[in-house]
Amino acid sequence: MTNLTDLTVAEIRDGFRAGDFSAREVAEGFNANVAAAKALNAFIVETPEKALEAADAADKAKAAGETLGALAGVPIGMKDLFCTQGVQTTAASHMLEGFVPTYESTVSAKLWAAGAGMLGKLNLDQFAMGSSNETSYFGNVISPWRRKDGGNAALAPGGSSGGSSSAISARLCPAATGTDTGGSIRQPAAFTGISGIKPTYGRCSRWGVVAFASSLDQAGPMARTVRDNAILLETMSGFDPKDSTSLDLAVPQWEAGLSSDLKGKKVGIPKEYRPDGLNEEISAMWDRGIAWLKDAGAEVVDVSLPHTKYALATYYIIAPAEASSNLARYDGVRYGQRDLPDGAGLQDMYAATRAAGFGPEVKRRIMIGTYVLSAGFYDAYYTQAQKVRALISRDFELAFEKCDLLLTPTAPSAAFALGEKQADPLAMYLNDVFTVPASLAGLPAMAVPGGLDSAGLPIGLQIIGKALDEQTVLNASLALEERAGFNARPDKWW
């Protein structure tokens, strides 16, 4: 019999409907994998009972001949940035340790309503700030991948959705939610040989998702195939009147629209994404990707996004600025951690609570954000950054006059070892260099695995599309997926 935990979301969905197996069998299989993978530290909270509950409901509905939800019988992992009613939600911080929301985020509610079951809350970088999953209060997430160099260095699963990427590539769940502020879905997907899409800003409601940087945060799915991403994204997307930035548009049928035939499509290759000193293997993978898209019928054109080199600095002003304000609500008054030294007044309580509740990277970003917004510096930093952001966005608009999508690398390197970049925040920030521009412009972008590098680690490709054109992004990604034939998986060592 097939190992149920090797199946994709589409295969589980279809097999369950066909009666090949029960939803309970699937849930039990993944629950067992989760329970056996403590070494990866991918979950902060495991909820096997939730997965079984949803599975039993799906089995019952099927037996009764009721209409099944789009994700009936499919268990998934939930990034611990989504508030889940009755289940601790921490954003991987000490600050929110023990916080049990009395409400359910819009995106997770949609997934449950579609019949999905929750395997648990996935670890992440604290408040989604990080690119290696080393900032979680609940410990590092370990990538299931190892270099083929005889060493056993623990590798980063990427961040911030590192619990999601690690869990999916290790077959602890067939799919998971992620959130992407500057690359937090795409970079971990690239590091672990899976796919993930950040949709257009406004497609997925932010309601009930712990905020990092409001103008950048966007939820999206992560899974092993492009089709699975399309399936999940359809359920996660949709207008939410509770989010003022939500797009009031119908959700396209992306799965039904999947086609890897790119005839008539123009693929732009932005020259600024090939800086001097770009990792040769990354560069070579990009060239292979270009060839694959040509093979799929697309025409390749060179384009320029001249302000690309300023994207990262722009991001590291805007994101911390918004974060410094978004995280002001964690003050020890209404929920979460409270640190009350003897005889402390209110303001002392705030300072002690926040010193104890936030990790170093979160504090660093709050401090940067506070500084760039402070009197006398606001225009030089924040206003300037929002102007440059407008220029970056305009770069994309102009490029999209000449092409329908862009192909770029996802990350400047394959996964690095845990601890390798921790000492230098700046070196860590540079990981997001290829993912941040699309975030700043709110554009849909997807990471797909392209192959393994010489060390045996996955490296990925990124497709960036026009606003609202997720279909083309998915289709081009599918074309890459078919040609890459990526079927490598990490050897089980955990």
Binding site: T102, A313, Y371, Q384, V388
Partner: protein, 95 residues
Amino acid sequence: MSIDLQTVKKIASLSRISVSEAEAEAMVPELNNILGWVEQLGEVDVTGVEPMTAVIPNHLRLRDDAVTDGDVRDKVLANAPQAEHGFFAVPKVIE
């Protein structure tokens, strides 16, 4: 521009994050490094460019004036570190 120890302490105070002397000292070069790097934005010519307001063109919707929420005190207070008599409790504030 570069920031000194006193500025770091001031930012920490504005951020309501207590820092020890040693922590503050360690942050000086760290924050200077990052701020020095983001200052490259100053070289971009932004003449005539309006700061970005909406990431994706979209209009601010206004909702109707109807009471649709509230009356959920138990939910509001459920996670409070200290709640008494239906209030959140904090150390006494002297105004």
